[in-house]
């Protein structure tokens, strides 16, 4: 049965024909390549590697970047790509987010032309997988405390430190590593086969199981002087990457919520208890209405956010608003969907349980819900509550 998307406010009328075509192409791909296998991948705890060449061939890696083999689509179209991928699974969307927004984007934005020529075409083709090392075991919400440090010698940089919760770490050929230096925080392009670089798989997760999560260990890793990203000094570089990724997350989780809602609505209409389908009972209707309402509001936020990004008007606090609101919405939606499905809601035959577990990761990665609350609090009051 084909997925039916939520469009209560007729927002399709606000999209261009090209945006709709892009969305439909990714939706069809997810139907065919992701949904048939993703439950099993999640259960077995592995990332479906066969999806990489498919998404690369479609041009989904670094899709909103221009040149270097990237298609340069608009920001709303890019958001719709993220939405459709996460309708399949948060792990698939995370893979594409990390490759595009966290690995390719910093090379594209802060890299030299040589660095861009060297890395981006292969990354767009999915032949080179990237990861992003900012968070450390002891420094999550406070990245400025990071211990990873790079020392400049006459002809090289020497980097030492640990990075934690790194999506794609074990399958990456290149890592963008953020480290302190004498001059402030810098980003480094580090090939993962450099001596002293090690990735350790993070196992025993109950969330984002169809995604590779790693710890990166850098023990006196030596890279040439031109491995540093020349375009930025300070944390603002890393934070710009996070803004780009959070933008994608805000769209993505609406896809997750729409998958849950679609499944819950179908189930409620088919599942008969007592004398009628459970969709006919007030408590179930209240849940469905709550889901529909919150999904629709998040869609409105996303569309406005995307158009603002296209016009260069978007500021980080807008993205904090969207990430905070939309992920919390998707988390609540997954809970409600799982309630409607009753016992079936815990089974891999259905999607809600997988989305329910995945969103727990999305809720706290890329800036926790609470941190985004404080970002917005600071924006309103001009008083920082986290310093």
């Amino acid at each position: 049965m084909d997925f039916e998307a939520v469009d209560f406010w007729g927002l399709d009328a606000e999209l261009s024909e090209e945006e709709i075509q892009i969305r439909n192409a990714v939706r069809a791909m997810v139907d065919r390549e992701v949904l048939p296998i993703i439950g099993k991948c999640f259960e077995e705890g592995h990332f479906p590697m066969h999806v990489i060449p498919v998404v690369a061939e479609m041009g989904l890696l670094g899709a909103n970047l221009h040149g270097y083999g990237c298609p340069g689509i608009g920001e709303v179209a890019y958001g719709l790509v993220m939405q459709e991928l996460e309708r399949g699974d948060s792990g698939i969307r995370s893979f594409v987010s990390v490759q595009g927004s966290l690995a390719m984007y910093p090379i594209y934005t802060f890299g030299s032309d040589e660095q861009r020529q060297k890395w981006l075409p292969g990354m767009a083709k999915g032949e080179i997988i990237g990861c992003f090392g900012l968070t450390e075991p002891d420094f999550g919400s406070n990245p400025a405390g990071m211990r990873t440090y790079a020392v400049k010698a006459s002809d090289r940089w020497v980097i030492t430190g640990n990075k934690m919760w790194i999506t794609n770490g074990n399958i990456a050929q290149v890592a963008v590593i953020w480290a302190g230096t004498e001059d402030g925080f810098r980003g480094f392009i580090v090939p993962t086969d450099t001596p002293g670089f090690r990735a350790r798989l993070v196992e025993h997760k109950f969330s984002l199981r169809a995604s590779v999560t790693s710890e990166l260990i850098l023990d006196n890793v030596e890279v040439p002087l031109d491995a540093v990203l020349p375009g930025v000094v300070g944390l603002k570089g890393a934070l710009a990457c996070l803004s780009a990724a959070r933008y994608g997350i805000s769209w993505g989780v609406v896809g997750s919520a729409m998958a849950v809602y679609d499944e819950a609505l179908r189930y409620a209409k088919e599942r008969v208890q007592f004398s009628k389908p459970i969709a006919g009972y007030q408590l179930v209707q209240e849940k469905l209405v709550e889901m529909l309402t919150e999904i629709s509001k998040a869609q409105l936020v996303n569309l406005r956010m995307g158009r603002m990004k296209e016009r260069g008007l978007l500021r980080p606090h807008h993205i904090s608003f969207a990430k905070r609101n939309n992920v919390a919405m998707a988390r609540r939606t997954a809970q409600l969907g799982r309630e409607i499905l009753g016992a079936n809601g815990i089974m891999y035959d259905y999607q809600v349980g997988r989305h329910l577990c995945n969103i727990e990761t999305v809720y706290t990665y890329e800036g926790t819900h609470d941190i985004h609350t404080l970002v917005l609090g600071k924006e309103i009051t001009k008083i920082a509550a986290f310093e």
């Binding site: 024909e17 075509q21 192409a25 061939e57």
Partner: protein, 251 residues
């Protein structure tokens, strides 16, 4: 090699179809359309043949201007340009008229191959390819599951009852695509962006000089009979056998 290939739009097979109150057709307000899956197979094959043999792939369709979106999808997959014959709504066509329109396009474009889906999944008529070949007096190979080009011949494997039949047909020829011919590619993002700049010529049906009179008259549409409730038996085998004989008349 120049290939004409069809891109028909069909109503979304998963949409709930409602009939007009006078039963003259289906309600089309708010209905979503998708490309006919067999046309997608034909388009994919045209693109693959083009990758090997070069030339041009021209996508053709008939219908109102918004059928451009269906053609655009094929252009996004990699076809070179499109032709849309306008002036007829979906319900103002039968297989014969469609075949005669395509025959006119054939005469204008002179392709080496005319590829079509074996049928559309809305009307399920399965006639256009065969009629088209007849009107053009050229060879046809319908229900293709494999197409190879050898010189001036197309070697086509056809799915027939109980097995496969391999035939050679001289070009130009009409070939209709079956489901197992290939797996259509996804439109890529660069393909979708490029498709925006590709041309779609609109040709008014009146300029083709074709008699648009239909040979098939649709009398009425009916909804399928709704399924009756099941019967539960609590008695023994004798009662069941009796009811199968007397009520169901199954034995």
């Amino acid at each position: 090699m120049k290939i004409l290939v069809t891109a028909k739009r069909v109503t979304d097979p998963n949409a709930k179809i409602k009939l007009k109150s006078d039963k003259s057709g289906i309600q089309t307000d708010g209905l979503e359309y998708k490309p006919n899956p067999f046309c997608e197979n034909a388009i994919e094959e045209a693109l693959r043949l083009n990758e090997t043999h070069g030339g041009e792939v021209v996508v053709v369709s008939i219908g109102p201007s918004d059928v451009q979106a269906t053609i655009r999808t094929a252009l996004a997959m990699g076809a070179h340009r499109g032709i849309l014959v306008t002036g007829l709504d979906d319900h103002q066509m039968d297989s014969d008229l469609v075949a005669r329109v395509f025959a006119e396009l054939y005469k204008r474009e002179r392709p080496d191959l005319f590829l079509l889906g074996k049928q559309a999944i809305d009307g399920d008529s399965n006639q256009v390819g065969q009629l088209l070949a007849e009107y053009l007096e050229i060879g046809q190979a319908c229900f293709a599951s494999k197409v190879e080009i050898h010189g001036s011949e197309a070697i086509v494997t056809r799915e027939v009852d109980g097995g496969l039949e391999k035939i050679a047909v001289g070009m130009p020829a009409v070939i209709t695509a079956d489901l197992r011919l290939n797996e259509p590619r996804y439109a890529s993002l660069p393909g979708i962006v490029k498709a925006r700049k590709k041309s779609i010529d609109e040709i008014d049906i009146r300029s083709l000089g074709i008699d648009t009179h239909l040979k098939v008259e649709t009398v009425a549409y009916e909804e399928p009979k709704t399924r009756g409730g099941g019967v539960t038996f609590v008695g023994g085998v004798d009662e069941l056998v009796g009811k199968l004989k007397s009520e169901a008349k199954a034995i």
